[in-house]
Structure formats: C-alpha cells, structure tokens
C-alpha cells in the first residue's frame, strides 16, 4: 500500500483498503466537514434511542395477555360518511415523504448556489413538517378524548397507551425541533449569513430531516401496521 500525501487524492482509494488508509494515515478519518460528521454521529445515537423505544414496545406487546388494540380501527376516521381505516396515519406518511422530497431538492439547489429556490424549498419542507405535527396533535386529542391514557385504554391491553404516547410523542418532538431548525437555516441562508461559504449546512439539516422521515417509516410499520 502506498501512502499518499497529496490531499486531493488521499480519499480516492476504494473499498476496505480505503477504510484502512482513511483511518491509519495522518489525516482526518472522515472526508467531510466536521458539522456533517457530528450530525451523522448524533443521528446514530438517535437511532439507538428510537430502537430502544421500539424494542421495548415489541417486548411489552409480546408479553401482554390482553388483546392488543387493533391500530387499524383505533386510528380509523369516518370522512364524509365513509369509514377509512388508518387514513390519518396514511396522510401523515405522505406529508412527511413529500417534505423529505422537497428537502432533498433544497440540498440540491443549495449546492448549485441557487439561494432563493433553496430558501423556498426549505420553507415548504418546514410547513409540511408543521402540518404533520398539527395532524399528530389532532390524533392525540382524539385518542385522549376516547379515553386512551398511558396506564390504560378502552380498547384492550393497557400498555398500548404508554407505547403510543412515548413513541409518537418523541417522534413529534423531533419533527417540531426540525421545523424550528429548518426555519432557522432558511433565515440564515436567505439573509446571506453563509455567503461565500459552502452551503453544506443545508445538507446537514437535510440529514436530520430525512432521519425524522426514516424513523417514521419504522414507526408506521411496527406501531400502526403490525
């Protein structure tokens, strides 16, 4: 293996040899701005938090002797006289995926240097995120009104409530924080705070936002569909 000293080519080596050279050579191990690496490490730790929530939900659901409430029925809505199972959750899923799409485009336009389109797309993402939180608030109030509590509910196993409030609450908190984060980034991009610098901040905020969408994919599958 040859040790390369030229910065421009030290990150060119592919595969396992590349990992060895990234980690062993006298240079920074990860070829990216430090903020982006820190976001990745934060997301890795967040992965553990959500995994632990979902694992404890699995354990509690497997060991419940009462019938677990049917999410399909608990989260059903009657819209215009039509009974639609799980409809609100489906809409929330589509809203969040759409926001992920607009965010991905925002990152793309940021790297092209198109500031105004970037700001518009980030604001669109934040608005979609805010509407997601709004629908979640509606869902929470509906369930609380129907008597769902962390310690019991009228539909079946008592553990349903605590798992529901804990998991969706923590996710909703992430979405709310993300909306604030995105609006803050949009403002700074718009006012020219990052002028003359690389707009990598948009990609970093994007990583956080896509992660929130990613977590929802797992919550949707395990909590609402299972």
């Amino acid at each position: 293996m040859t040790i390369q000293t030229d910065k421009s080519s030290t990150y060119d080596q592919p595969g396992v040899a590349g990992v060895v050279s990234d980690w062993a050579a006298d240079k920074q191990a990860f070829d990216m701005p430090w903020g982006k690496l820190m976001m990745w490490i934060f997301l890795l730790s967040d992965t553990f938090i959500f995994s632990i929530f979902l694992t404890s939900y699995m354990k509690v659901r497997m060991s419940a002797t009462d019938q677990w409430p049917f999410p399909s029925e608990v989260f059903a809505l009657t819209i215009g006289g039509v009974y639609l199972p799980l409809i609100l959750i489906a809409i929330m899923t589509f809203v969040l995926i759409t926001s992920s799409g607009t965010m991905a485009m925002a990152v793309n336009y940021a790297y092209r240097g198109d500031k105004s389109t970037t700001v518009k797309l980030i604001i669109a993402t934040a608005l979609l995120g805010a509407s997601f939180v709004g629908m979640q608030a509606f869902e929470w109030s509906k369930l609380i009104h129907e008597g769902v509590r962390p310690w019991g509910n009228p539909f079946g196993a008592a553990q349903f409530g605590s798992a529901f409030f804990m998991i969706t609450g923590f996710h909703g908190l992430h979405v709310s924080a993300g909306v604030i984060y995105l609006l803050w980034v949009a403002r700074r991009v718009g006012t020219g705070y990052y002028d003359g610098k690389n707009l990598e901040i948009v990609e970093i905020a994007g990583l956080y936002w896509h992660f929130v969408d990613l977590v929802w994919v797992f919550i949707f599958a395990f909590f609402y569909l299972w």
Partner: protein, 105 residues
C-alpha cells in the same frame, strides 16, 4: 476547509425516488386496507419498510456516494440493536408464558 463541490446529483433521481416512496407507502397502506393477515402481512410490511428505509438512506441521505469508512460507522453499531431485539423477543415470549401460567384466570 472548504470543498469545491458537495453532494451534487441530477434532480431527476430525487423525483424518481420520491415517486417510488409514494408507491411503496401506498402498498404498505393497502396491506392494511385489504386486511392481509399472518405471515403475508408481516413479510409485506417488512419488505416495504426496508425498501423505503433503504432508498431514504441510500439516495436522500447520499450514503451511496459516501466512503466505506462512513458506511461502517453507520451500519456497524446497529448490530448491537439486532442483538437487543433478539434478546427482548426471547424475554417477551418468556414473560408471556409465565403470565399465562401464573397470573391468568
């Protein structure tokens, strides 16, 4: 340190993945809508979930274009989560059987 270019890809790929995520989400909703049960339901839910998660990570989060060092950093530690899930599944089963045996009725 400033790099000349960050992650730059044609906009078309994001639109394609976006449409694909919509289609996959519709499929997973239909799994519930058509009341599929048992192993069909569970395997389809997992299939659509992993496909969606994979595309979000690979394309939207650009992991495909990152170096192997970062991929290992991201996908190594979650092995511990897989171990935890396995252990808790065994434990959950055990708790369930004990509740039936000692507490039920």
């Amino acid at each position: 340190m400033s790099e000349a270019v960050g992650q730059q890809h044609p906009i078309g790929i994001y639109l394609k993945i976006w449409v694909l995520l919509f289609v996959l989400s519709t499929f997973s909703y239909l799994v519930d809508y058509f009341h599929l049960e048992g192993y069909t339901r569970w395997s389809l839910i997992l299939l659509f979930m992993f496909l969606k998660a994979g595309y979000i990570i690979a394309i939207f989060m650009h992991v495909t274009w990152e170096r192997l060092s970062l991929k290992w950093l991201l996908f190594g530690p979650p092995v511990a989560i897989a171990v935890l899930i396995t252990l808790m599944a065994i434990e959950g089963d055990y708790t369930f059987l004990n509740r039936l045996f000692y507490f039920d009725r």
